[in-house]
Symmetry: none
Subunit: 204 residues, 4 copies
DNA sequence: CATGAATGAGTCTTCATTCAT
DNA sequence: AATGAATGAAGACTCATTCAT
């Protein structure tokens, strides 16, 4: 009965990852204990080690799973708009939506990941891959707009894409820290306005 | 001679903080050991505890010291330009300069701080205070420009200020992680162009 | 069909013992895991526990089986020589042969057994019984030679027998550790010469 | 005060080694816990790790210390006899004496070492070095006797030396296991007689 | 009968903190 | 004031044994 077993195994892995996520969000990776994760997932410590080779393996898998999917998600959700102007607007909306829905765990997980990236190159590379993925997608959108003449000819697609991702991550940090004074609605409006001003082909 | 003693004590504290900073930058707060800090500062573990109550006390003081000074620094460095356009340009330049000079430690320290903010409210509040300080200064500059009619009337000073700080911190993360593909020169140019487009009172 | 079942059970037990022997030879008793034995025997851990009460039970049975058979083996193999001189020579040859054929497992198993004997009296007694068995057989041979006048009258049969077994086991240790410099051929020659010199009834 | 400190350190190390020896003798290396050693040495676990890098380091040092000195000891104690015949006799006596004095720990430690040698090459090499050292010394004595004509010309010095060491270690095993029926006095007499018979230059 | 997932006590090791000197 | 040896409470990980399927 490999089918059932495999399904069961996957379910368990997911349950452990979810437990780990909660624990990591609460106290960070270093302070979280394997016992914490075990208790939260309703399993014994020993059982955990049947599904993951080490505490660090849990973290790595979690990062891969949670952060690795962001670029694909973005692409999938915004792709069916065919107008570059709309696609850019869609990206910003998706980002804002994500913050509202998953708030504040995405940001906190990002913090945990960055903290680990300091020592763990695998995590660092995961973060950079995610960055590259996001930048790459947005850059593509921008370039299509430039080529079609909808965006200003001398816009720096790659740099703007990088800036938008940096902005998004920086904002996520503060948002997940419940920074008072951040007004998501006005933020979105201003970002869109700024991007429009910059990309507008008719402005100098 | 209480004066000398007090001076001596301050010197020692500073030395310890500097040692701690280096160590934290290298391996993060949790993984850094008190021994590491002691060795780096040239003191014994025992001596450390005469100057700071605990490992966490060292970290808290360090954060207070390092993160608290950023807004003042910004203000001091950019203040003597009196034209709002120049002041904004100056802010961006100072930021870029800071990255070039202190790279990559600023970002790494920020990461360490964010990681600790997860558990430690004092650190979190320090980060938010720093954010507020930076936003506040930039917001002031923007408002002066708006009032004087040099910037567009309907620009959202507070939100733009927040966005710039978020962008700066987000960028700092990736910059301190040695993300390839980040070109500081083009980044600076694009940021300035974007801000100019957005603030230009003559554009719609 | 109790008969078949019983046979089946015995076969399984033997298979497990053989797997265990290999595993113990490789990493010793303490470091060997029940999983190791299960995998090597092609059974599941659960199945193992249907045939043996515990890991220690496997080891005890193995020792009983492997160490218990040595004296019988010796007796059986050397018995059909009827001349005491020849019998003694035969013993040495059998010993050397065993080393060549089963090398280096005999020695390694002996080491494992001695290690366990430290804590486990059953194993210790097994080793002493084996010793007694071997000594007893050789002593018998020697005594027949003395009685028949072929060996010197004042030879100490019991002590010589003990010495030969000690020598054999001591040698086995080093041989199984692949001690360089041990030349089996010359060893055999020298042992035989020494014993001959000592037993020769015509020498003082 | 480096002098006092160094002395203190050495004393502590010796105390730990002695505690470890007792514990290892009692339950073998694998079953002995670091806690056992700490308790027996009157220190805390943490303190142990200031003097030794790991449990295995303790064991290795102990082996080096206890087994490594045997060859030198033998050499030193038997050297002042100048007659080869006497030197050989002296070797046997020293060995017997050692068994009587340190009984049964030498043998038990030897067992522990052999058990670990199965996995740990450093231990194995230590044992082989000890073997080589002992063989080498005895071989030297024998060769001097052969050269001077006091021993038979065709005696195989190297092999005889090896045999004597194997015999000694094999005997030590059984002696430390309190094998009944071993009579040290008669053993000694028989070994000496055998060696004499074999080495006697006047016998065929 | 067989399986192998689950358990959880036990192991080695680290490290913040204390305190005798 | 300074030192650094000592403490001991955790923490990650292992593995003999059990038991539901």
């Amino acid at each position: 009965m490999p089918k059932v077993t495999e399904t069961h195994k996957q379910r368990r892995r997911q349950a452990i990852l979810e437990a780990a996520e909660q624990v990591f969000l609460g106290k960070g990776y270093q302070l979280a204990t394997v016992d914490d994760i075990a208790i939260r997932s309703g399993l014994s410590v020993g059982a955990l080690y049947r599904y993951f080779a080490s505490k660090s393996d849990i973290m790595l898998t979690l990062m891969e799973d949670r952060l690795g999917r962001t670029p694909n998600l973005l692409e999938r959700l915004s792709a069916h708009a065919d107008d570059p102007w709309k696609q850019i607007g869609r990206c910003v909306e998706i980002f804002v939506l994500a913050l509202q829905v998953r708030h504040p765990s995405t940001g906190r997980l990002l913090i945990v990941a960055w903290g680990e990236a300091l020592q763990d190159n695998t995590v660092r590379e995961g973060l950079l891959r995610r960055f590259a993925g996001l930048v790459n997608y947005i850059q593509g959108v921008l370039e299509r707009g430039i080529t079609s003449g909808q965006f200003r000819r001398d816009a720096d697609a790659k740099v703007l894409a990088s800036l938008l991702v940096c902005l998004a991550d920086g904002f996520t940090l503060y948002w997940s820290a419940n920074t008072p004074s951040l007004d998501l609605r006005r933020i979105r409006a201003t970002v869109i306005t700024m991007v429009r001003c910059y990309l507008n082909p008719e402005l100098p």
